[in-house]
Symmetry: C2
Subunit: 300 residues, 2 copies
């Protein structure tokens, strides 16, 4: 069986790029041929894993400028038994792709809302009068560029190459340190996957990056003063650093939240075991997405 | 001078609706004629207040299904001296507007990403094969509907009336309790505003809703285990309920955050004064957006 990897499509976008980094890295230690499967949304990429029509999904979790990818958080909470195998941090370099002869002839710029937001200052400076149109993916409208006069897309250099389209301006993101953290997600209970993936690559990883992260999400039993603080305090008292806390609505009523937290410790760590036991006395639902390494694509 | 109120345009969207509720409520106690000024983005609506080209802005802060409106949070942090005068909670009821004869002939659905996300299950059930296109506002593409065959927009009943367009399906949001909290924002230091607004209406408000909320945002001095917990603990120990905590990236590097918190107490409250004094010893930057009442548009 092939190793099928779901990601947000169409090909050429940043999710596919992250999936390709992962595939190349895997190829160093294992022989299975991975197959990339583009999906129309992040939720559907994760659903493919939950329903076992894909072995893994590579999904964006957080961007350094625009923050959490809420669709990923919501789907991780709604679906069962998803497990984070690895986090990949990938630099994001946006380019403006267009068949127009110069910036002056551009009338419309299409891209994903996160990409438009990440180039906001550049757009205000160089293209103050164009119409900005949000799309589901940075590569969705590349096909339009040859037929629609004055159209441009913010996407990646790889997308320009893949679709054989000209780059009109490069490195247009407002913050040079723009990067996105992706998660490689599996079905925790998938035995086939463990047989399929050569675990040597993960053993290698444990050796080179000794810092493991654990992600989890929970809803609280009661919304009383200090309820969240009590839950977070458990980790602080055991000297476990909380690297991220994010709230999402429960979707039941305004003011009721779920919390997503990332911790700088492995779930096998004794302190973590004690902390999770205590945490469960405060939570209504607790979902543990597992422990994983964080790897920069620059090192892969 | 007129009382100018900035909001995200074009007219007919939910921000304009919230602004109209506010205007009608104001009209009960003061005589100034308010003028609504639609802006192309939420950031520009708030910038208009910061630069004194508008007296107030009405902006969405949080939706019960999709969570924080990150553009609002980021602009509140970046701009100086903004002050929240009032929070309005408004129910959101989406309708599908189209000139098509039936659902079968719809090919494309345009709307704001939050509206598309809020009708996701309905769209998957009734329009599984249509193309979904994200736009900057729920009313941006209404003009297209008469000329583009098979096009539809998710917007409000008011928008359909305003643009004289047919409703093909009503109440299509997946969660019936969908509501959005808007903020009425002023420039804290704007003396003219205080003269312009008849303060009686706010005095009335204090009488009818005795629960005041305070919003603030801060960055921390150091990212060490327990730094955020220590800051939140201050409020828990003084029995001040934290009704919301939201993290946003500092945009400097991945893993560095600002925190936005809402507290159930007035800033004039002695406990709050003590808490804020202590909080400032942990924070790098602390921005206090003020104390305000929360009003449901159902009561207005």
């Amino acid at each position: 069986m092939n190793l099928s990897i779901a990601h947000l499509g169409p090909p050429g976008n940043y999710s596919e790029q992250a999936a390709l980094f992962y595939v190349n890295w895997l190829a160093k230690t294992q022989s299975k041929q991975p197959v990339l499967c583009p999906h129309p949304s992040i939720a559907q990429s994760l659903k493919a894993v939950a329903q076992e029509s894909a072995m893994l999904a590579v999904v964006p979790a957080e961007n350094s400028i625009e923050g959490s990818v809420t669709m990923t958080m919501d789907a991780m909470w709604q679906l069962d038994s998803l497990h984070i195998e690895l986090a990949l941090v990938m630099p994001i370099v946006h380019v403006l792709i267009s068949c127009a002869s110069s910036l002056d002839s551009i009338k419309t710029v299409y891209s994903h809302p996160q990409a438009l937001a990440q180039c906001q200052a550049w757009l205000e400076r160089f293209l103050p009068d164009v119409q900005l149109i949000a799309t589901n993916s940075t590569t969705e409208t590349l096909e339009k560029l040859e037929t629609e006069e004055g159209a441009a897309t913010i996407s990646s250099q790889r997308a320009a190459q893949l679709y054989n389209l000209p780059i009109l301006a490069a490195g247009i993101n407002d913050h040079p340190d723009n990067c996105t953290r992706f998660w490689v997600v599996s079905l925790g209970s998938n035995q086939n996957l463990n047989q399929d993936l050569n675990q040597d690559s993960f053993q290698d990883l444990k050796r080179i990056t000794n810092k493991r992260h654990t992600s989890l999400a929970f809803s609280l039993r009661a919304n009383i003063p200090g309820a969240l603080v009590k839950a977070l305090q458990i980790f602080a008292q055991l000297n476990i650093n909380l690297s991220r806390v994010e709230s999402r609505p429960t979707k039941r009523s305004l003011g009721e939240y779920l919390f997503f937290i990332d911790l700088e410790a492995d779930i096998q760590d004794e302190r973590m075991q004690a902390a999770l036991k205590e945490l469960s006395t405060y939570t209504e639902v607790l979902k543990i997405f597992g422990s994983y390494n964080v790897l920069s694509t620059r090192e892969m």
